[in-house]
Amino acid sequence: MAGTALRGRLTWQSATVTAVMDETPSTRTISLSVPDWPGHRAGQHVDIRLTAEDGYQAERAYSIASAPGEDLALTVERLDDGEVSPYLTGELRAGDILEVRGPIGGYFVWETGFGGPLLLLAGGSGVVPLRSILRHRALSGSPVQARLLYSSRSWADVIYRAELGGLAEGVSVVYTLTGSQPPGWTGYARRVDAPMLAEVAWPAAPSPSGSPSGSGSPSGSGSPAGGPLAYVCGPTSFVESVAAGLVGLGYPAERVKTERFGATGG
């Protein structure tokens, strides 16, 4: 029965673009209207499919940028060598149609019941599913503390800049700009490394007061319901390095969730 229900969610549905908004010179958020959208969990993705007039089809996976309860929105980064992302970040406009299937993913998800504190680590466009998690946390009024460490090439490449600058209490954002920095920048200016993680990450051991840990552990596999939860997303080399760094700081491997976007960062 569960299998049938999931396959039903996995059919391709037509989605209409309701709005496109350029976030940075190379990224765009696409808002979609999907008639039978079942809702999603924070951190999930969708597969999208484009069909050309000659019948050629291309499929790609994109993380959902919106929170559970909000309309489906994706943020796409343009890869210059790409075939799909230049179209989505360029030609695509409101009224256009593409196909989606999903939502997909049961591992890289966060629900308020999973507790925290949350440590979110983003490399470039890896911030997209983490933004969904932060929006979900805010919309649900969760008291879980959250910290985002966000690595970008430059200030101009920071996605959701205004939103991240206006976050509510209990959330802190730390940027590292690896390529160029604006005049007067006093923040980190290098790739994430062990010393930076040691300064930014929540201590690995659970705090005595604890955070509300809710009814379930993240994977349902019986891992300890205490201590920070880390979500790492971005290019593969970023994720490998950061996940290893967190384990080196004492984070149990089962409390470090990873999502790799490949060599080019998605």
Binding site: L50, Y56, Q57, D96
Partner: protein, 199 residues
């Protein structure tokens, strides 16, 4: 029927039709497509071996690079439908390598670092149609494209041009390699569009 996405089309370069096998499109890119991690074998430990002949023959990197090499410009065709024209390579012809071995085998299984294999008739490795290539575009072949050396058999679909090749096993019978085991065509002629077994 899927709805058409307005304005979406495949990236393609125009090319003369007689250069493009059926079902292919021409690209200016050289996509990196791998079934596993990029191996990094030190040249001091690299060898190319031919087994299954009357004797096993093996070359170290120095011995291999001392063999006569050729440059060539050729078109390559991937079963995933992209073709790249006028690619420039440098390598040692399999005529030279197989010429150093006595054998009567009719088939070969090429094998690579990382475990990849692909099968070819020995005849398709001869007659100036196959190389062990160590140079691409005028520079040493990069690791992600199969360096230090890869098989190059441009008259067949490019999955037969095994990256990180380390040798050939000569055989009396045809044994399917990695992708052939999953249904890809045993021979793979792009001009007869032999993508899958039974084509």
């Amino acid at each position: 029927m899927s709805p058409i996405s307005r304005g979406f089309h495949r990236k393609r370069i125009q090319a003369p039709a007689d250069r493009v096998p059926p079902g292919q499109y021409v690209t200016g890119d050289f996509p990196v497509l791998s079934a596993g991690p990029t191996p990094h074998t030190a040249l001091e430990r690299w060898s190319f071996s031919i087994t299954g002949g009357r004797e096993t023959r093996s070359w170290t990197w120095e011995e291999f690079r001392a063999l006569p090499a050729e440059t060539l410009t050729t078109d390559i065709h991937c079963v995933t439908r992209w073709s790249k024209l006028d690619t420039r390579w440098e390598g040692v012809s399999l005529d030279v390598l197989l010429g150093a071995v006595s054998y009567d085998a009719r088939y070969a299984l090429a094998f690579s670092d990382g475990g990849y294999t692909t099968n070819l008739p020995v005849g398709d490795l001869l007659g100036g149609r196959a190389w062990v290539a160590f140079g691409y575009g005028g520079a040493p072949l990069g690791a992600e494209h199969g360096g230090p050396a890869r098989l190059l058999v441009p008259h067949l679909y490019f999955w037969k041009s095994a990256k990180w090749v380390r040798g050939l096993r000569l055989r009396a019978t045809d044994e399917p390699g990695f992708w052939e085991n999953y249904g890809y065509h045993s021979y793979g002629d792009p001009w007869r569009e032999q993508r899958y077994a039974g084509d």
